[in-house]
């Protein structure tokens, strides 16, 4: 178990380092940052001053090592645009992003898993096909359209939920639903296919031969074995929700980390861009690590490998 943990942790660090390198290189590839920061009216002398001030005149490797060592101690630099510490900018937006992502994932899991189980238990019936059709429709629906539709119906017509902002918890409901919709089809399909396989397996036949209740057969014996890919994909989906909710954050005027990154790209605010990429990469790495640990808890075979 310890070896398993150590190996996963080492892998996670390597992945993070790779992402760091790539994001650093990519921001450098977009052009001369000093010119970009100085703006179109700046003179050659201004550009040189900025180049020196931001340390852009030093060799790339030195810049990289400096940035990584600073990042490792929690110093992500200052935003060019906001003139504030990037760490502060991100942590200010983190609660919104986290709440939104977790709400979305919870809604997705609570909807997708029961539906997937029901579809698997009724495999091949009209109910199964109905559920899977909804999944396809869900997959095909663009989230900005769904978001706007929900805003019109539940925000403007029925006025059940606020149309923007997150001053109260109700503000998270509509964006949470929209986020969940992006994850539900995949989770539902995985649950269904995992359950179909599990329910057809020999150990389920054994469980039935033991006279166990239907609930024990489905929820204890089948679901546990079907859950592993679902856990893995849930982690990835949560990663997407935490990072890729820019569209939803725009529609619902929520200022989360994704929105911050998107703004920063437009403004060439490269310390923010790099840091958001680093943050999201870390989120993915941590989530994947968590999923691995959960799967090891679910499947004893993984623990002894």
């Amino acid at each position: 178990m310890l070896i398993f943990l150590a190996r996963r942790a080492l892998l996670a660090m390597l992945v993070t380092l790779t992402v760091l390198t790539v994001s650093f290189m990519l921001t450098r590839l977009t052009g001369d940052l000093a010119i970009a920061i100085a703006g179109p009216q700046a003179s050659q002398a201004d550009v040189e001053i900025i180049r020196k001030a931001y340390g852009l005149d030093r060799p790339l490797l030195v810049q990289f090592v400096n940035w990584v060592t600073d990042a490792a101690t929690g110093d992500l630099g200052r935003s060019f645009f906001y003139q504030e510490d990037v760490t502060k900018l991100i942590s200010a937006r983190l609660p919104v992003t986290l709440t939104l992502g977790l709400t979305g994932l919870s809604i997705a899991i609570l909807t997708a898993i029961p539906l997937g189980i029901i579809a698997a238990m009724r495999e091949g019936t009209l109910l199964d096909r109905g559920i899977m059709t909804i999944a396809v429709i869900g997959q095909a629906m663009p989230s900005f359209w769904l978001g706007l539709t929900l805003v019109i119906i539940f925000g403007l017509k029925l006025q059940w939920f606020p149309i923007s902002g997150v001053e109260t918890w109700q503000g998270f409901v509509l964006p949470g639903i929209v986020l969940a919709f992006s994850a539900i089809p995949a989770l539902m399909r995985l649950t269904r296919s995992g359950m179909v396989d599990a329910l057809a397996s020999d150990y389920i036949r054994t469980a039935r031969a033991k006279g166990l209740s239907r609930a024990a057969i489905v929820l204890k014996h089948a679901l546990r074995n079907a859950a592993m890919p679902v856990v893995a994909i849930s982690a990835v989906q949560l990663g997407f929700m935490l990072s890729g909710s820019i569209v939803i954050e725009t529609v619902f005027s929520l200022h989360g980390v994704g929105y911050l990154g998107w703004e920063a790209i437009g403004k060439n605010d490269f310390p923010v861009v790099q840091s958001v990429v680093l943050f999201l990469a870390t989120v993915f790495v941590v989530l994947t690590l968590l999923a691995d640990l959960m799967n090891a808890a679910l499947d004893p075979r993984l623990r002894t490998q």
Binding site: D202, R205, T206, A209, K210, G211, A216, N225, P300, T304
Partner: protein, 332 residues
Amino acid sequence: MSAALLEVEGLRVGFGNGTQAVRGISIAVARGETHCLVGESGCGKSVTSLAVMNLLARGAVRTAEGIRFEGREIAGLSEREMGKLRGDAMAMIFQEPMTSLNPAYTIGSQMAEVYVRHRGGSKAAALDRAAHLLGRVGITAPGMRLAQYPHQLSGGLRQRVMIAMALMCDPKLLIADEPTTALDVTVQAQILRLLQELQQELGLAILLITHDLGIVARMAHRVSVMYAGRVVESGPAAELFGRPTHPYTHGLLACVPVPGKIARGEPLGSIPGTVPKIGPGYSGCAFRERCAQAMPACGAGDVPGREAGPEHRYECHLGADWTARLATGAAA
């Protein structure tokens, strides 16, 4: 109360695609005896065993004139009622020891669960019984095994665990579907010996499904030979091995090499062809295309059931003395 523990009458199993896997068979298993269901692959043995437990996969349709267990009609029982019998008075073990245990739970948890389900009580008490039974089926350090997962055990050990698990609630009937087919020969022998010992000790009735006539000769008190969904010959083991009467039984026995009876280099017997798939409207004897004794009457209609001796029945147009007549005919 009738003498037999399990009586199956007129059992039929069909599948959605029209295939008829079991076509009106009757089997009786007496208390404390081993009844072997024998035949080659695809003749309906496993389907029969699953049908008795009502464990057939979805899409299979089971009908029966009667399935009686301890004199009680169980063919019409609901899934819930049947669930009370399964794992309790009637238990089952399978051909695939490697995959028949749930990989995600410990041996102890899987064994305790069936006891708690049927007998109630604490998990600790159930685990005590599980440890006792693991010892009984010849597993050393049972306390340690309880905490292990299936993947940490060999195939032979897993089959022993399956047997111990089947015994948790003191069943009266154990259905064993090819329990040793997937195991090494030495392990096979150990498992068979274990089943025999348990039978004597616990008075267990065993319905043993196998294609291996060596196992039948060793284990069976009574034998039913299945072919294409019918029981074509049945009787006490000694009777049936002494005077095999159906041409198919003959053929099966000719396929077994007997040291001393068969010379080195002499070809082993074989039955040409394969078991036919039986669809709706099939008529006549299903064995006729592979039978050396086939005659025009075999082509259509029902095959008559005949007696070859006390409790020794077979289904064929040939009289019971056909082998003798064949021998004199060949001599003349």
